[in-house]
Symmetry: C2
DNA sequence: GTGCATGCAAATCTTTTGCACTCTT
DNA sequence: AAGAGTGCAAAAGATTTGCATGCAC
């Protein structure tokens, strides 16, 4: 749970207040580093934990703030509410790596941690493009669902 | 305009009716092969042409149908309404190629026509994944906006 | 004529906004 | 005490759904 201190420091460094609600949202995100969650899922997990009560709107506002300060990354998957996951701070300055597979049958989401888009980005940069980021989503059937169908 | 016959045949082959509204939507899509359009943009273009009048809801329903039969491809760009573009039928069976750059300043959208994700997909297929498709979106500043900023 | 497609109205779902109140600093 | 954050209600935007009518076949 030491990572909670990271977000506390980050908030302070941005002159943002360290509130219970912001910590509650951060805690959920820290406990779900492997899968991007929707605002609603985060809200439900906070409620379920019964440690703290808040409004869904606050979750939206906090996620928006966290996205702005680079604590999390927002992704829009096809036909679904936006999903949020911790941005891997250390790697942020080298190669992007926000790639996902999503199973169209069971909604299983699997992130990939190696990046194969950066070469394309460098090519674009040579042609005058700047500040490039990317989002890659691969959909299909995961091994379990592929067997059943 | 000969391509309109393609969608007519496709509709018939799927036991779907060839209606004026469906042809109007198809015409707009055929005239905009280079850029994915939103449902609203398609609707507006139909109105603007004044050749035909229809309801926005019908456009949604038709786009949904066209997506199901593989005539078009639907993409969700960050924070925007879904966009639709003709799926390149010929290439559909070989390599996917639905890649886009979107300028965060002027909303310019540029598709890429070569694919560099398929190798990753083949790797996944070896591990039991199936029916893989992908959507890649690169965002940043296009050359024009990069100069200004 | 039959039933798929459409138009219209209304519902749904996600996200945003306004405003008064509350808690961090 | 000041004002950033929050809760609540309501708005906004995109998309879907129900149902009666109309058009393709």
């Amino acid at each position: 749970m030491e990572s909670l201190n990271e977000i506390k420091s980050l908030l302070k460094s941005k002159q943002l207040r360290v509130t219970q609600t912001r910590l509650a949202v951060a805690t959920i995100l820290l406990n779900n580093k492997e899968k991007p969650l929707t605002s609603e899922e985060i809200f439900n997990k906070i409620q379920k934990s019964k440690k703290y009560d808040c409004d869904q709107v606050s979750v939206y506002r906090i996620l928006s703030t966290y996205d702005e300060i680079g604590f999390i990354k927002k992704s829009n998957f096809q036909g679904e509410a936006s999903r949020y996951i911790l941005s891997n701070m250390e790697e942020n300055n080298s190669l992007g790596h926000e790639h996902y597979f999503k199973c169209t049958a069971c909604n299983y989401i699997k992130p990939f941690h190696n990046c194969f888009v950066s070469s394309k980005e460098r090519e674009l940069e040579k042609n005058g493009f700047k500040n490039l980021k990317h989002h890659l989503e691969i959909t299909g059937l995961c091994p379990k669902c592929a067997k059943v169908s």
